[in-house]
């Protein structure tokens, strides 16, 4: 069998393809998860935002949220520092005091769910009410939610809000990235409403490229950082800013660790405790039981020994006593015999005198 050149090249090709396939599979495994391929996101550029609150209005309309107390045209609300609530999935805050001198006027920050690549809320939920969809949206299922609000504790961006005023069916409320719209090919409400293109919608990978290009093109206009590229493991929403993000109310101390990694260590300890604790505890029980058993054995042994010793001593004493008694008896017998002999010698003088006295004396001697 000969290997032709063509065959050999074919094998090489197959091997190469295999390697390539392996690589793709590895890149998609959850060990190095960097977001679903082709998932979408939104880029917010605060140099373009004019604080008109049209995005808030658009969000309110498409999500059919309750009408606000003050109209969306009323910009006086920008004077207060607001956050997302059960009635507003997104809000805009104004920041006046910014360090850069060349920035004209105030800067704005739009706040909504950042749709983390590995969401803290989804990791924290004990009924899996949150899902990170292939499209990139983090959506919530109220039909299983217990209302424990652990997602609100877990979210580093302080996004989920809760219907505290509802007695029977309170829900967690948060931006869905307009999931029902984007699967139909429509734009999210806020993006559609934005009149200045401060919001750019697209594939996250494309948005990262766009953001980088803007920074490259206008290095004086932007801080050289794309917020959301790595924060908390990366988010579907990305941000460009004219000033350090801290100055527009965005936390720079969140780190780049995805939330699930923060708890995976503690969780991995659980099966170990379940597996080893019973062994350890049974071992301790066995030891204490054995100690007790040995202690009992020792006690019994000591008691038996003591009893035996006491018995031995008693027997020895008894024997001694017996011997003494024996000796006494022998002595008395001897005495009696010698006495009798002596008396027997006497009667040779007066024989007929005392036969009755002799008969009286004998029983008393035997008694002793």
């Amino acid at each position: 069998m000969s290997i032709t050149r063509r065959k050999f090249m074919g094998w090489l090709g197959a091997a190469a393809a295999g390697t390539a396939l392996g690589k793709t599979a590895d890149a998609a495994s959850n060990k190095y998860f960097t977001g679903y391929a082709d998932s979408i996101g939104v880029l917010f550029d605060n140099t373009r935002c004019i604080g008109c609150r049209k995005c808030e209005e658009g969000c309110n309309t498409v999500n059919e949220l309750p009408a606000p107390e003050k109209s969306f045209d009323d910009l006086s609300l920008l004077d207060t520092r607001r956050r997302t609530t059960a009635k507003a999935y997104t809000i805009v805050n104004r920041y006046d005091a910014v360090s850069q001198v060349d920035v004209k006027g105030p800067l704005y920050r739009k706040v909504q769910c950042n749709h983390c690549l590995e969401p803290a809320c989804a990791s924290a939920c004990f009924v899996r009410a949150f899902t990170k969809t292939q499209e990139g949206a983090v959506i919530y299922d109220a039909s299983v939610c217990v209302g424990c609000r652990y997602c609100m504790i877990a979210c580093p961006f302080e996004i989920p809000a809760y219907e505290y005023d509802k007695a029977l069916e309170p829900r967690i409320m948060k931006c869905t990235l307009c999931y029902p719209r984007i699967v139909k090919g429509l734009l999210p409400g806020c993006v559609q409403a934005c009149p200045t293109e401060a919001l750019t919608y697209g594939k996250r990978t494309d948005l990262l490229r766009v953001a980088r290009e803007r920074i490259l093109k206008f290095p004086d206009r932007y801080v050289n950082h794309i917020y959301g590229e790595n924060e908390m493991g990366g988010t579907s929403w990305l941000y460009l800013s004219a000033v350090p993000f801290k100055e527009v109310g965005m936390r720079e101390d969140l780190g780049i660790t995805a939330a699930p990694k923060l708890t995976s260590g503690a969780l991995s300890g659980v099966p170990i405790v379940v597996g080893l604790w019973p062994v350890l505890l049974t071992g301790i029980y066995a030891m204490s039981k054995r100690k007790e058993k040995i202690a009992n054995q020792e006690t019994t042994r000591a008691v038996t020994a003591a009893v035996e010793q006491a018995n031995g001593a008693a027997q020895a004493k008894l024997a001694e006593e017996m011997a003494k008694v024996q000796k006494l008896k022998e002595k008395e017998i001897e005495n009696a015999v010698s006495k009798a002999l002596a008396e027997a010698a006497k009667p040779k003088e007066k024989v007929s005198d005392t036969p009755s006295a002799k008969a009286q004396k004998k029983p008393s001697e035997e008694d002793s």
């Binding site: 609530t85 424990c148 609000r149 219907e163 007695a167 019973p278």
Partner: protein, 389 residues
């Protein structure tokens, strides 16, 4: 409380009964408000502060202080310290009531309490530490109920069932220790996911270990504390063994608590080192951290040691109170004081009086239940027909 009104049934207008009745009535009214008007009508909870004292006190402190059950049963049945046997039943009873109250409190706190079984039967969020807490608390409550049941069965005269359960003692004890280790530590691990919100002096990868070790301290101290109270109010119900072992229990548990406190102190310091947070000790939060570490960990460790050396029972008893307070301070710090420390003061949480009313109401229910049970069932004395257990 000690007048025995409950047993004689002569007069119910004792100070204890009157105060308890008032608390219960207020509690029931607030309960009605909570379940008709939602959380907003009775709490100061907000979107920034989703957890208040119903979690901080009722859940975190409650579970820690109910640790006496597993600590005592482990000491007696696993470590073979039989001289503390008379402490087992009161500790199991307190543990059982404590956990039952925790579960009742959760029904107030969560939005849709009837869905509390969902994580087990509908959809399991196994990546959540809260899932672990829920699973272990549910299982452990069951274990505690079974461990407690012999007392009730002796009272009801169910001899056979009682003897069957007693045979399971060792198995239940081991199961109880495993479950307690897991959920006591998981309560600390709940906060691992929020490094951005919890002050670095309290946030530590060791949080689960801190919570577990401090639960042992809480358990030991609660047994001493309760035994003091029981002796004061239920002395008539105690048999000779309880009276005789009482002081030995205080001395033995005090000694153990001092030792574990020393270990806890050391790992807390290691925690500061691990995060290299020494510089934070000079801040206001640092000062408060030092108060907790020195005043509620270091000091009781020392006082217990002195009390045991001098056989000073009074000192040991007061130290138990200080230690129990210290555990409460720690849980409050992690859940409420040092949590959301980055927020401006107007966004911070302070409990509404009705939240406090519910917590007081639940504790009162616990005391009433405890009193009901110890005045009827063989908790503080051995049933004459079952001396062996």
């Amino acid at each position: 409380m000690s007048d025995g009104a409950a047993t004689t049934g002569r007069s119910f207008l004792t100070p204890f009964n009157v105060i308890a009745a008032i608390i219960v009535i207020i509690g029931l009214i607030v309960t009605a408000l909570r379940f008709t008007g939602g959380l907003a009508s009775v709490t100061n909870l907000s979107d920034y502060n989703p957890w208040g004292i119903w979690i901080g006190f009722d859940l975190l402190v409650g579970v820690a202080l109910a640790a006496g059950g597993y600590v005592t049963s482990a000491a007696v049945y696993i470590f073979g310290m039989k001289k503390y046997h008379s402490a087992v039943r009161p500790a199991i009873l307190t543990g059982f009531l404590g956990y039952a109250l925790v579960v009742i409190a959760l029904n107030y706190d969560v939005g849709r309490p009837w869905r509390l079984p969902y994580p087990f039967f509908i959809q399991q969020g196994t990546t959540s530490l809260l899932f672990e807490v829920a699973a272990c608390v549910a299982l452990y409550l069951t274990v505690l109920f079974i461990e407690f049941s012999p007392a009730a069965m002796e009272w009801l005269g169910l001899k056979r069932a009682r003897n069957l359960v007693v045979k399971l003692t060792l198995l239940l004890t081991i199961f109880g220790v495993v479950l307690s280790t897991l959920h006591q530590s998981s309560l600390g691990a709940l906060f691992l996911i929020a490094p951005a919100k919890l002050h670095p002096l309290w946030y530590s990868p060791y949080l689960p270990v801190f919570f577990f070790v401090s639960s042992i301290i809480a358990g030991l101290s609660m047994v001493i504390f309760e035994s003091t109270l029981s002796h004061r109010y239920f002395a008539a119900k105690m048999d000779e063994a309880h009276m005789k072992e009482k002081d030995a229990i205080a001395l033995g548990f005090g000694k153990a608590a001092s030792l574990v406190l020393a270990g806890y102190f050391i790992i807390k310091v290691i925690g500061i080192s691990e995060g290299n947070n020494w510089h934070l000790l000079e801040t206001n939060y640092g000062l408060w951290f030092l108060v907790e570490l020195l005043g509620f960990v270091g000091l009781p460790c020392f006082l217990y040691a002195v009390g045991v050396r001098d056989k000073n029972l009074k000192l040991i008893k007061w130290t138990a109170v200080l230690t129990v307070l210290g555990i409460a301070v720690n849980r409050f710090n992690v859940c409420l004081v040092a949590f959301n420390w980055h927020l401006p003061s107007e966004e911070r949480y302070f409990p509404h009086w009705m939240e406090i009313a519910i917590s007081v109401f639940l504790v009162t229910l616990g005391i009433i239940a405890y009193r009901f049970i110890v005045t009827r069932m063989p908790i503080l004395y051995a049933h004459p027909e079952y001396e062996d257990h």
